[in-house]
């Protein structure tokens, strides 16, 4: 009898309507400005310094071109630059996707089987420690000057963080959840799909963020060694012609590829794991 009364009093039923994040002050615009003013300020300062140094010719313009010269180069050569940007973007994206798939597959093998772990880990480690730039010429010999060696290089360089984060994620499953799953009569596939994989996602997403920025490096290095298109090739051409404006324009585009792809992975992360501690903003609904 009396436990019913205690029950009623202590259970926070008044909080029934809650499950939605409390509204935060300010409109969308205000929040955007709040989030962006610091990086914008810093970026602006760097840009101002560049503009000042180049415009006043403290450093010769054939070494550091003015922002205006770079902008002019970009508008003049926009179709040439765009074409080559797409080449590098294509190599990077394909390389990244392949690295993500292969890396996840390898991580699953390692996380599930000790034998596989012993067999695969040395190879994975070897693939990581071997200097990619050193094997780039070999890849050109093997695969020619087409897309293949660039993609292979992007895969090789982006693969490792995916494997490491994937293994860490899959291994981080609460052992009690695995036991629970056994008492639920679930097979390994269901346990993987419903418990282990979602649980590994936060780790995996951090690995993918690192991997995507590395994939750009892989593609560009591949282009350095042997290519007739792509931003890496353009960079070599600009360098050969002492065309600093083109060189700067090219560097800006390379960075943009990396930044845009990184942000896309961040968006994917926000959509996939809104529940994770790193993305939480809410407060507990109950305290008892």
């Amino acid at each position: 009898m009396s436990e019913q009364i205690v029950d009623r009093q202590l259970t926070p039923r008044g909080a029934r309507q809650v499950p939605s994040a409390p509204p935060r002050p300010g409109t969308r615009l205000v929040r955007l400005v709040e989030a962006l003013w610091r990086p914008a300020l810093l970026l602006g300062a760097v840009f101002a310094a560049w503009w000042f140094v180049a415009e006043r010719e403290y450093v010769a313009n054939y070494l550091v071109p003015t922002p205006a010269q770079v902008a002019a180069k970009m508008t003049d050569e926009w179709s040439f630059l765009l074409r080559n940007t797409f080449v590098t973007l294509y190599e990077t994206v394909i390389g990244f996707v392949l690295a993500a798939l292969l890396g996840l597959g390898t991580a699953i093998l390692i996380a599930y089987s000790r034998t596989m772990e012993k067999a695969i880990y040395p190879i994975v480690l070897f693939a990581q420690v071997i200097p990619k730039i050193a094997i780039a010429p070999l890849l050109v010999v093997w695969f020619g000057v087409g897309f293949t060696p660039k993609i292979v290089l992007a895969v090789l360089i982006a693969f490792f963080p995916v494997v490491i984060s994937g293994v860490a994620g899959l291994r981080s499953t609460d052992p009690e959840l695995i036991e629970l799953s056994a008492t639920m009569g679930a097979g390994p596939w269901r346990t993987f799909r419903k418990i282990r994989f979602p649980n590994a996602l936060p780790h995996l997403m951090s690995g993918l963020k690192v991997a995507v920025t590395l994939a750009v490096v892989g593609a560009v290095v591949g282009e350095f060694v042997g290519a007739d298109k792509g931003l890496g090739y353009v960079l070599l051409v600009a360098n050969g012609n002492l065309d600093a404006a083109l060189l700067f324009a090219d560097l800006i585009l390379m960075s943009l590829i990396g930044i845009v792809l990184f942000m896309l992975v961040e968006v994917a992360e926000a959509l996939l794991i809104p529940w994770h501690a790193s993305r939480r903003s809410g407060v507990p609904l109950t305290t008892s």
Binding site: M1, S2, E3, V6, D7, L10, T11, R13, A15, R16, Q17, V18, P19, D174, E176, L177, E179, L180, S181, A182, T183, M184, G185, A186, R190, T191, K194, I195, P198, N199, I273, W275, H276, A277, R280, G282, V283, P284, L285, T286, T287, S288
Partner: protein, 257 residues
């Protein structure tokens, strides 16, 4: 012979690691009848969790045998509900979906499972928190979700490993009262492990007292309290005091619960 919900005969579990051998459970014989609520009480590290895991088929016996519902236990059992000390919820799922995990993993009928989940949510006072994620819930509420998940498939046997050990005293008493009510309403056989004497006496129809390592059952005490219990009532009952003191004596004077 059969008819027992759980039967342990000379159960011994030893763990062998490189450094040493540990006898977690030593020659335990125990019989739990259907509908009983057996509370095993013992100090921390006395092997009571291992005993429960052996019943669930999660730990193989070194010697002796375990039968569950008349069948020998040789691998993880599915005719049970298991509640751990920690709620062990999926942090990306809301309360209701966490409860429904049980149905998804077993491939139960969706409509049936949904109705059943709603009943349990009502029964445990989780109404209004169906969509709340684990981190938005208090420890007590999280453990309620875990309890609902363990009960979803209407298991004949419920195994509970210090389910309320991590909760504050008030929440704990409240959940004990709820568990008593759920046990009465569902008729499930419950085997509960705890280090709280009060909890064991309050909940059990029988209390088994375990000694520290190696884990042995040193005494069996029937609890002659009414089936329906509340703390207000039980705490003033002199039978409760008498039982508690004898358990405390059995566990050695040092125990303070």
């Amino acid at each position: 012979m059969s008819g027992a919900a759980v039967e342990l005969t000379g159960l011994t579990v030893r763990f062998v690691s490189r450094r040493r051998r540990t006898v977690a459970v030593d020659d335990v014989t125990l019989r739990v009848e259907p509908g009983e609520f057996v509370a095993i009480v013992g100090p921390s590290g006395c092997g009571k969790s291992t005993l429960l895991r052996a019943v669930a088929g999660l730990v193989p016996p070194t010697a002796g045998s375990v039968t569950l519902l008349g069948q020998p236990v040789t691998r993880p059992q599915t005719d049970i509900g298991f509640v751990f000390q920690r709620p062990a919820l999926l942090e990306w799922r809301g309360a209701r979906k966490n409860i429904l995990l049980q149905a998804e993993m077993r491939g139960l009928d969706r409509a049936w499972a949904a109705r059943r989940a709603d009943e349990l949510i009502e029964l445990t006072g989780l109404t209004g928190f169906e969509r709340a994620l684990p981190h938005e819930l208090s420890g007590g509420m999280q453990q309620r979700v875990a309890l609902c998940r363990a009960l979803l498939h209407q298991p004949p046997v419920l195994l509970m490993d210090e389910p309320f050990g991590a909760l504050d005293a008030l929440t704990r008493e409240q959940l004990n009262a709820e568990l008593n009510r759920i046990w009465r309403e569902t008729g499930t056989t419950i085997l509960l492990v705890t280090h709280s004497i009060a909890e064991a006496v309050f909940l059990g129809t029988r209390v088994e007292v375990m000694s520290p390592r190696p884990g042995r059952i040193v005494s069996t005490l029937p609890v002659d309290l009414p089936v329906e219990r509340s703390y207000a009532q039980v705490m003033t009952d002199e039978r409760f005091d008498r039982l508690s003191s004898s358990i405390r004596l059995l566990l050695g004077a040092g125990a303070n619960h």
